[in-house]
Amino acid sequence: MGGVEDGQPPSKRLRLSCAGSSSVSSGVRTEEPVAASSLRDSMARPRQCQGEEEVIGSRGMIKKLEFVRLIAGALYALGYERSGACLEEESGIPLHSGAIKLLMQHVLDGSWDESASMLQNICLDETIMKSAKFLILEQKFFELLDNGQTMDALTTLRTEISPLNIKTSRVHELSSCILHHPHSQNGYARKDSLKPKLRSEVLDELQKLLPPTIMVPARRLEYLVEQALNLQRGTCLFHNSSDLDMSLYADHHCGRDNIPSRTLQVAVNGEVVLKHRLCGHQKSVCQVAWSPDDQQLLTCGTEETVRRWDVLSGECLQVYEKAGFFAVSCAWSPDGESVFAGFSDKSLCMWDLNGKELESWKGQKTVKISDLAVTLDGKQIISICRETAILLLDKETKVEKLIEEDQAITSFSLSNDGKFLLVNLINEEIHLWAIDGDIKLLTKYKGHKRSRFLVRSCFGGLEQSFIASGSEDSQVYIWRRSSGQLVDILPGHSGVVNCVSWNPVDPHMLATASDDRTIRIWGLNGANMRHKVVQNNGTHQSNGKL
């Protein structure tokens, strides 16, 4: 049985190895390059470059030597072996010194002893040297073990690995491998960390150990370009388009027309087709929640009961109530198997779909006007428990965490990933809290108007990177989530905008509900407008969740 074949072409990066000098620290080859004359002028005096490094770019921040090495690395990573070698030759700047090239080749060939001794030729810090040696010898040990050369493996462990005197616990782990070898009798299976790696993986790890000047990190250029794109995306004020739309050819920039800012449709009674009238509540409905599969609805009548409806038939499937008290809020569990409600005795309740009470939490758990939500894992129940506090109640551990504000909380909404909570306050501020792990206030959003009504806000857009809110000045406000910067104010409604809902699938569609008795659908400015206002003649409901 031979060594582990890792599929690397044996000739990789060998081309210049024979010509490479063993002086690593200089990093610049001293030979006259056989290059085009224009390049030769600049590269003919490499020794002088060492003291005062040549720089490129408008700000002189990029060291030419580093840049060329990265390009060569990128070429090799792309599989352009010949171009990479050609660049090294033409520029006279080797990607890696001869010693490193030899070392890499030895590792790929599985010549562990040569690799280890090669390390001595590279001037390295003592601790780095030991770690690198450990890495190489460990791989040697595993490969011997897998080849059935248990005694040789043992010798390596005893005479080569142990004397390094580092990572004692790891050495113990290695020796346990010998005891349990060969081949998983009595069901003992080795962990992945106790198996030989691919040789290319050993190289990757080696690269992480060695200083980057000696061994250039793999794919470093790609990483830098990605960093630039990320930065462009992060500073793009209206960013709401897919990463596929980003190009290296030009700096990325989304225009204002990438967020929904134009009314596409005004839906009042008659504009949309009435499917069912869900009759049963005696009072106005304050909350409506879609089931996770979109087949059912949960509704909460203000100071009344909670009802579950079948969307296709319009039938009321179940009524949830608690004798002597009225319901104030309702929510689905993420699996759609149970429902939650808050009650006027300040308790929270959980039922199965058939109305059997599964659990209830007594004490100060909710207030009269409260939202209710359950995190994606189904573990935490979120409710406004006091005028100025939101309770995060762990269903299983019973641990209670609090988000405490200085001002009264009017409503909240949970982000799609369940890690963030958007909290609306009575003093015309919206606060974004991280609730995953440590509870932390991240960002504040201001500008909208609120004095009398429950005005809701929501997350939305691509990766939920925007915040939208209704307002009592009849406008819709949109902020950038990360910075809190107000990016757009949408006029159009003629009454208080109570509720906003950003399409969870289409980042370019937003719906708003208003006291002007209409629902508006907003889309991109460039889109075709289908603006039809139909005379309003009936009931309205815009105070619940959309």
Binding site: S284, C286, E303, G324, F325, S344, R452, V496, S542, N543
Partner: protein, 131 residues
Amino acid sequence: MGRLFLIELEGRIYSCRLCQSHLGIADDIISKAFHSRNSRAYLFDRVVNVTVGEQEDRMMMTGLHTVVDIFCVGCGLPVGWKYEFAYEEDQKYKEGKFILERNQLAGPNVNAFPFVEAFGLVGIPEPVDDA
């Protein structure tokens, strides 16, 4: 109409005489020795469920003050004012405090379980406190 956001108070509650929205509790009264044009008035440390009007300077018996009128969130009834700024040094204690006019108030009513009140189970009326 959208859903009004009304805070529920607990304790001995003064509410709007028209719509019964809670406005303040007896424990938050700083002084009952105030007067408005039409009635007696109480100075409250904290008042809820009100909206504010425009700021204006008003000459009172105790000197010049910057005030804003306050209105019940539920029905818009003017129920008093809030002191934003007092020009006289010895009146500074009123800044940030609220006046509720007695003739616009109902109560105080005890409300131990505020939620239940809407069901008509509790809500024991107490004699009007005129002290």
